[in-house]
């Protein structure tokens, strides 16, 4: 591989990390600011939630280099399957325990 191509690839990868970092830090700052500014609780929850999910996507995209490309499909499928399982397990747990909680009140 020519040195030039290699140089380009390196630049691309460096850029990916820096862009990812900037995005992540902005989303983090947004979430913290919402709390620091004492917004209404429900609005704050929504913003924090969206910022968190967006940041997860940023991390996967820019730090872990997961994309829709063919070559990384396996990993992506695995992440989606894991997400499904997590939603089932964590969501189910919260649903069940809340239900029990209310019925005991």
């Amino acid at each position: 591989m020519s040195a030039e191509v290699e140089e380009q690839e390196k630049k691309r990868e460096l850029r990916s990390y820096i862009v990812g970092f900037v995005l992540a830090i902005s989303l983090t700052a947004l979430a913290f600011l919402v709390v620091a500014a004492d917004l209404q609780t429900s609005t704050a929850y929504v913003v924090i939630g969206i910022a968190a999910l967006a940041q997860v996507v940023v991390h996967f995209r820019f730090f872990l280099h997961i994309s829709w490309q063919r070559s990384t499909r396996d990993d992506l499928q695995l992440i989606l399957f894991t997400t499904l399982i997590i939603i089932l397990m964590a969501g189910g747990t919260i649903w069940i325990l809340n239900n029990l909680h209310h019925r005991m009140m």
Partner: protein
Amino acid sequence: MSTAARNRHPGINLGNTDPHTHAQAEETLFGFWVFLMSDLVLFALLFATYASMIGATDGGPGPKDVFELSSAAIETGVLLLSSLTMGMASIAMKYKEHPTRLYGWLGVTLLLGLVFLGLEAHDFVKMASEGATPQRSGWLSSFYALVSTHGLHVLAGCIWLTISIIQLAVFGLRSEVKLRIMRLSLFWHLLDVVWIFIFSVVYLGGLA
């Protein structure tokens, strides 16, 4: 052409810079990635347990009494920065910027990891001194379990970093060492992903 070497796994791919290791990496990193998914499920259940115990303070302190926005923010910043430096280390390794840069970035990452652990330990000690110990209430039990499981993972990452640095010194940039650093970097990034949920759900959710 660089695009000829297709990506085979998450994280930085060595591609044409080291075709031999790149070929090996596919299986090894896939295995590690599967492990990480299993680990994520473990965290998810700790989160679910935490969420189900949010009201269970048993008359003891609640989130607003014990959390501080500023220290959570500093910890978050440190960990995020360490993710970036870990990425820099991966790039330095890929382009064989050994020894200076590679050692440098790995060293900075290790340092940031230790700072993070120190800050967290400081938080815990402070909370405990105010009576917010894990034994105080179900909510605090679940808080400590969740956050310190993450902390233990970071500690494991720090040990792993140290060993990697030693192995670089002993063996140089061998395939085996590279593969380990590549797995370490996946591990490290994923810990940061878990932390996103910790600061959002636990700290910000508790203080909002």
